[in-house]
């Protein structure tokens, strides 16, 4: 399984990638939406994990691009802690079940990944 991790916080995304690799998941990480799109052009992924809040191109705009260009690619979101109580974000995430709040518990993330891939 090959996963693309997109988050502007390098410390978090790199660590998360390493933790996933311990669990037999190949994780590639980038720190912006633009980089993610470049990566998608050259490599094939089973799943993209997108941070919602990012500078320039945020997770939701990246989602649009993915929907346009990579219909087969599955994806899920990460949000900052308590974002589900932010009304703007909450309305954008409404109807979406494929997201996790930070800080991420690794077991929950694995469950969610399985859930999304089996959909």
């Amino acid at each position: 399984m090959k996963v693309l991790l997109v988050d502007d916080e390098k410390e978090i995304v790199s660590t998360l990638a390493e933790r996933l690799s311990f669990r037999g998941i190949e994780a590639v990480w980038v720190t912006s939406g633009e980089e993610a799109l470049k990566k998608l052009e050259t490599e094939q992924f089973d799943l993209a994990i997108l941070d919602v809040k990012m500078p320039k191109m945020n997770g939701l705009r990246l989602e649009k691009k993915i929907k346009e260009n990579y219909q087969d690619l599955k994806y899920m979101f990460l949000t900052a802690r308590g974002a589900d109580e932010d009304p703007e974000l909450a309305s954008n995430l409404a109807g979406k079940e494929n997201y996790l709040s930070k800080p991420i518990k690794i077991d929950k993330l694995l469950n969610k990944i399985n859930e999304v891939l089996n959909l």
Partner: protein, 593 residues
């Protein structure tokens, strides 16, 4: 209750210090007194000045009038007396001129003359003919005076010595031993000697003349001679031939009016005139207080109108000032309330933004710590050299739990600050109460306060302004914490009230609220904690918030046994409903119990 207490405005009883303090941005009492003082000065001042002016003018006029009337009276009486004497003198002069000595020496003839005189001019009692030696040759009249010798009598001496041809005497007793006046006329004879015709003036006639004057009961008029001996009887100043006790006026050709104080201390108005060609001075005396009776009445009317006017003015001024200042008080309390609410909410918003900023800033490093610690845990799990060390695993778990706790705190901070701006959203009562207590559970632990939460499962989630609900709950729980002693109890209970409302009550077993304060507990600026920095706004703001949420807040308390605050909120709240008007009694007239 005294009259003052009835009309006294209630704001005067407000104390600015200590318990039951009412805070106002100005000194009401000072303004009230100042307003009354100023309005009184500008309204009553002119009235009093006018009254004084009128008083003085009327008084002067009255005194002038008294003087004038007295002058007229004295002038009139003096004229009458003078005329009376002149007439007698002329008649006697004519008699001695028209009758020969021999005719006059005839008793019958003399009696005829007397009868003629009494019938015409009158005022003469008897007639006597006296020769140059002073012996009375002939006499007609009621007394037996024929042959009497007058040569040593003063009047006779003066006539004989020729100082005056016609002589009017002072009063004297004479041979008849009764006070009387005489007029004597000297007439020369061809042989160079002379005779004297003497007539006694009718004193009754004098009395009549003087009493004819229109003098009031208390007045008096009489004649005195130049030495001050009374010539006629008086009503109050002694009998004839006594010496008068008043000062004798200096000789003057014109009449005078002056004021004197008699022996009893009464003020007298004395008019006097020297009667020409006679030894008499006419005196007319009246008590001043009788003359100024009309003035006294006028004076009472002026004083009455003045005092009634002042009373009415003061009454109106005090009432109007109280009414206006009451309105100002109410309005300024409202303004202060609004300002304070604005200040309070902007303060809350700033605190909220600050908290949110801090939470956001802290969240990122926390997330990194969490991920790194997670990675370390993975390393310990998957690397052989570490996996056998349980201590490492314990340490890393402890780090992870602590980070999770920190994350819980930042989450609560964020949720609070966000709720300040949010309007209507779905709220779970249990979660809302838990959130609030999250900030207070440490205090509850330290002080061993037992907090019971009784929120049944059938309480549905409901739509309301979560931020405002949170403010209400935070304030009420804070109050409860402040009220209870250590090891006290606080019960938080929620109940469904029919299908429309939800009731949440917070009960403490603290000090309670005295009955006299319970009525005013939701009033703005009512505080019993002024010394410890209470603004008197907390409950007032909660009251306003409860109204804004379409609900209400009530309080029940027994002093010393604790208090229960119950907030009733509607389960459904329309989005565009405007908040109901605040019907709290702002009326300052409401008595403080």
């Amino acid at each position: 209750m005294s009259f003052w207490q009835k009309i006294k405005p209630t704001f005067l009883s407000y104390s600015s210090k200590g318990k039951d303090a009412v805070k106002l941005p100005f000194d009401v009492k000072r303004i009230w007194f100042f307003a009354i003082f100023l309005i009184s000065i500008v309204s009553i001042g002119p009235l009093v000045s006018l009254a004084i002016f009128d008083y003085t003018v009327t008084k002067n006029d009255t005194e002038k009038e008294i003087q004038l009337r007295m002058e007229h009276l004295v002038d009139h009486v003096a004229g009458t007396v003078s005329f009376f004497l002149e007439q007698r003198k002329d008649v006697l002069s004519y008699t001695v001129y028209a009758n020969s000595f021999a005719d006059l020496n005839n008793k019958e003839h003399l009696a005829n003359i007397l009868e003629g005189l009494q019938r015409s001019a009158g005022g003469i009692v008897d007639l006597g003919l006296i020769d140059s030696t002073g012996k009375q040759l002939q006499y007609v009249g009621p007394y037996d005076l024929l042959g009497m010798d007058y040569h040593d009598k003063r009047w006779c001496k003066e006539v004989r010595e020729g100082k005056k041809r016609v002589y009017i005497s002072d009063i004297f007793l004479g041979f008849r031993r009764a006070p009387h006046h005489i007029i004597a006329v000297k007439q020369g004879l061809p042989d160079g000697s002379f005779f004297i015709l003497r007539a006694t003036v009718d004193t009754e006639k004098f009395k009549e003349l003087l009493s004819l004057m229109n003098i009031r009961e208390t007045g008096d008029s009489f004649l005195i001679n130049h030495k001050g001996i009374l010539q006629t009887p008086t009503l109050r100043h002694g009998v004839a031939m006594d010496k008068i006790k008043l000062s004798i006026p200096a000789e003057s050709s014109s009449l005078k009016v002056s004021e004197e104080i008699c022996e009893h201390g009464d003020k007298l108005v004395v008019g006097w005139a020297y009667i020409q060609d006679s030894p008499y001075i006419l005196m007319v005396i009246q008590k001043k207080k009788d003359l100024i009776k009309t003035w006294l009445t006028t004076r009472w009317i002026i004083l009455g109108i003045l005092s009634a006017g002042i009373f009415v003015m003061l009454f109106v001024i005090i009432h109007v000032a109280s009414y206006l200042i009451n309105i100002i008080c109410k309005e300024s309390q409202k303004t202060m309330m609004v300002l304070n609410e604005v200040e309070h909410s902007s303060k809350m918003a700033s605190i909220g933004r600050l908290a949110a900023g801090v939470a956001h800033e802290v969240n990122n490093p926390l997330a990194i710590i969490y991920e790194k610690a997670g990675l370390m845990k993975d390393l310990f799990t998957y690397k052989e050299e570490y996996s056998h060390d349980p201590k490492l695993m314990g340490l890393i778990d402890s780090v992870l739990t602590s980070v999770e706790r920190c994350a819980g705190i930042t989450k609560r901070l964020l949720s609070f600050s966000r709720n300040l701006d949010i309007t209507v959203q779905t709220v779970n009562m249990h979660a809302a109460v838990k959130d609030v207590l999250g900030f207070l559970h440490k205090e509850a632990e330290y002080r061993s306060i037992i907090v019971n939460i009784d929120i049944p499962k059938d309480i549905p989630d409901f739509k309301t302004d979560r931020g405002k609900l949170q403010q209400i709950l935070v304030n009420l729980t804070n109050n409860a914490f402040a009220a209870v002693e250590d090891e006290g109890h606080i019960d938080i209970k929620a109940r469904r009230q029919n299908n429309e409302n939800i009731m949440i009550s917070i009960t403490d077993d603290g000090c309670g609220i005295p009955p006299k304060n319970i009525k005013r507990i939701f009033d703005p600026f009512f505080s019993t904690k002024t010394e410890s920095g209470g603004t008197g706004l907390g409950l007032s703001i909660i009251y306003g918030l409860a109204l804004e949420l379409g609900g209400k807040i009530e309080v029940e308390s027994k002093e010393g046994k604790g208090a229960t605050f119950t907030v009733t909120l509607p389960l459904e709240r329309g989005e565009n409903e405007s908040p109901p008007t605040d019907e709290r009694s702002w009326d300052l007239e409401e008595p403080i119990q």
